[in-house]
Amino acid sequence: MTVSKLVLYNSNLCPYAARAVLALAETNQEHEVVPIDLSVPRPEWYLKDINPYGQVPALKINDKDIILESLFVAEYIADLHPEAGLLPKDALQRAQTRYLIHHWGARTQPAHHKATFITDAAEAAANRETLVAELEKVNKLLVDAHRVESDGQGPFFLGDKFTFADLAIAPFLARFFLLGQYNDVKEITKAEFPQLERFFQWKEAVLARSSVQKATPSQETLVSSYRKWVK
């Protein structure tokens, strides 16, 4: 099946939609973007023809098929371009990729959310500790990533190459700095937590990637747009 036309329904503020944006950028895939304003009710046509749940991202292919869910959209785009090497060929690396993405979403991100948005001082302190514990688990997953020699010693999840796990978590790493913006939780640093060295190395490399920078709103914009989550 040849893909002649891709339309991405997107919102610049949405970290999930950013995954699709990153996949398109990293694969140089031609596409159109239709912006969807998430601050107002979705237009009728969007609910009817694109996504009855009203969410972004959504991808329309050849004016016919629609893919929903950020990871499925991003993986579809990656699959169209095996030459971009976003998805590792090795089955174990693919499994570790999927697991890291699952783990971040199920455990790390919720811990970050709690530590960032709960303002009660006592709770905040405990939440910071929990987040550190969760980051230690991520650190271990990064350290234990299965690599072959050709993968190199580089900072990304699987070495020298920026791959799907880096892409899927990048938008959330880009929002990591929100910790402490709404409460007195102290920043989590490499200096205070040397056991998180690999995590910080990874985060730094991912955030330095130009596609990630282009897909991330300014810090000011993010701070003000996320304020509504503060408890």
Binding site: I67, E75, A91
Partner: protein, 241 residues
Amino acid sequence: MTVPKLTIYNNIACPYANRVLIALQETQQEYELVDIDLKTPRPEYYLKEVNPYGEVPALKAADGNVILESLVIAEYLADSHPDANLLSKDPLQRAQSRYLIQHWTSRAQPAIAKASLALDSPAEEAKALDLAEAELEKVDALLRQVNITKEGPYFLGAQFSYADLALAPFLARGYLLTAFHEEPVQKAWDERLKANRNVQRFLTWRQAVVERPSVLKSTPSKEVVLEAYSTKFLKNRLQKK
């Protein structure tokens, strides 16, 4: 003595672990099965060396690498055995397969679970059954959307694949929806689905999936399922059937 290539940590009552058994059957490989009792505290070694969360399933490869999460394990087994054709080569079909799994998990299965436990009043029961039927109609629509030739019986047509595998353990437990309701409700539900033209594709699909040999081999008996489900969700409300 042959060293097994794979060790699978399993519990037959767990539908997520059943996924892995189906994948093992479909890819026809050798493995060692270690049963993990979910009713008692996990053994120390399991938490330390395999899964700190204590859950099943888990896979340990001969080289010591551990893989957690049923879908990740199932896809790993499918990836490692391309000759089993469990993963479509078409990127769109792969995306649609993942979406069906997610849709079932986040919308259909919760509605089914709710209906299975809507035991307090006829009004609650009726509402829950309506919602469950509506969700099955949405699944039916997804099945028809993909399979343009309308041939089945599996999600992608003649080829049993990843989406069928992932949902098989839940399809095989379909009777749970009415198992704890009064018997007339059970009968009425079956008749209702048969008469609803918007779930026919779903019913064809479900039957084909649950009758597949690899699924039959990987599914516990109704007694085991009822006992596990009622212990977990019904506690004191178990009705003797």
